[in-house]
């Protein structure tokens, strides 16, 4: 028998792995396996559509849009709760464990190498820019000052979109003009 008042808090409170008496034991896999909506296995019929939700097994209630709504709420709650959605724990034999570790470490090495390469590229870029500006300042004050001017605000255009795996339907637009120019042309 579950009552709604305590039900929300019970379902919705954060779970962490702990052995302390006030907790629910082991942490549930609360961070989502966000599944598509599943109908609960056992039909939970609702009676007494007052403020509280009382669940009783085996007793069927007749009709009503209110029971349907309550059933929807029950479905919603079951989506949020990690009940029966936790995957089975992986058990690895010693050889499997070694294989897993090898692959994992190799992949981490690849990721780390990529990250370091990126950082090195940015570092080189930064110092080249810095040295270029130093040289320019020594060469010509006027050119240096005009180079140091920055537009405000700096915006990247929409055409600078996130690239997709497949190309767009129209690959190249030879007659493309920036939107500001396009507006001018239309008004004229």
């Amino acid at each position: 028998m579950i009552v709604a008042q305590g039900f929300f808090r019970h379902i919705l409170r954060p779970r962490t792995p702990s052995i302390f008496a006030n907790s629910s034991g082991f942490g549930d896999a609360s961070s989502a396996f966000a599944p598509s909506t599943t109908v609960p296995q056992t039909t939970i019929d609702v009676k007494n559509c007052t403020g509280t939700l009382m669940f009783t097994r085996g007793k069927r209630s007749r009709g009503g849009g209110e029971t349907q709504q309550k059933q929807k709420m029950v479905n919603m709650l079951s989506l949020i709760s990690p009940r029966r959605k936790q995957p089975r724990r992986i058990k690895l034999s010693y050889e499997d464990l070694l294989r897993h570790r090898t692959v994992h470490r190799a992949w981490q090495l690849v990721v780390r190498t990529k990250r370091q390469e990126r950082r090195l590229e940015l570092q080189k870029q930064y110092f080249k820019m810095k040295h270029a500006c130093d040289e320019l300042r020594k060469t010509s004050q006027i050119l240096y000052q005009s180079a140091m001017e920055k537009p405000s605000p700096i915006r990247f255009p929409m055409e600078y979109r996130i690239p997709t795996v497949t190309p767009p339907r129209r690959i190249w637009n030879a007659t493309w003009k920036p939107p500001a120019e396009e507006k001018k042309r239309k008004t004229l």
Binding site: A4, F8, L12, P14, P17, I19, F20, A21, N22, G25, F26, G27, A29, S30, S31, A32, A34, T37, K72, M73, M76, L77, L79, I80, Q86, R89, I90, K91, L92, H100, R118, R119, E121, L122, Q123, Q125, Y126, M129, K130, C133, D134, R137, M148, K150, S152, P153, I154, R155, F156, M158, Y160, R161, I162, P163, T164
Partner: protein, 333 residues
Amino acid sequence: MAGRPHLKPASGAYLRSFQQQQQRQQNFHTTTPVNKNSISIVHPVHHRIRYKKNQLQPAYKDILNTPKWDTRSHLFRPQYTQHSRLEEHYNSTIAPDLLLANFVHDERVIPGRKRQEWDGSSPYHINRQKRAPAGSAVETPEIKPRTFKNIPALKAIWVNAFVREAVRVNQERALPTMVMMQQITGKKPRPVFSKSTIMTWRLRKNMMVGAKVKIQGPDMYQFFATLVEVVLPRIKDFKGVENTSGDMFGNVSFGLEPTDVKWFPEVEGNPDLWPNLAGLHITLVTGAQTDPEARTMLSALGLPFVGKERLYNVPSLEALEVIDRKRGIIYKD
């Protein structure tokens, strides 16, 4: 013992005056007088922690000892199962361009507003708390020179929903929005409970009135890409996020109406499942130091901006000159 009447020491370790000790021995039926010449030894207070002994059984030993990042742990959640488009685009294309765009030659640290010391004109200034910062109620961080180490990037996204019907009608009304947030972001949201009772709004304390969730990493990039490519273009009369939006330190917020939320693919696919949805507040936490920088970065990721820009916390040229003059650098015209 003074202050701890519930603790009784095993042996009387009090120093008593000889006279009082004699009195004690002689008069068994009189109460002991107040001891002014005694020392009290503080016995350790053993804090008892309640734990479930059942959970320490040998069968559970390996479960409790496997760390969270181990694949054999029940808490393990695989992270990089898919290639993240937006992350790759940012790393390969946008980061170097942002480094160039934000570069300022010979930049100095621009001090923020910090707490001030008292000048010492009064003797009461000794050991007094520092004064509030000049021109601000709170301390503001200093703006560090922009290098390859602090390029602005998307750090986290907070999605927050307040459901008005949960206050007016029924607390259950907050659940569909909460489930929808889970479907959209891929992470289970936390419920938000009200903190005060206000009768005019029919609000009680500790009522569930909404939900919030913080997403980081690949989930965050996926959510942002969906927003920018699928949801925002579908919104009617949407030109862009306001240029005035920002919290002075590089975090940008905007909101989605209940009618806009249904353009998310998870909601659009099954419209019957989502009868009453609330709108969302979306806060983009960036690593930028100022708002204009954050907006530049977000425009590179595809988020449009509209309207007149508001420049808080961005020092003017005069202010920069003042800072340099203090350090002994004077500009010659």
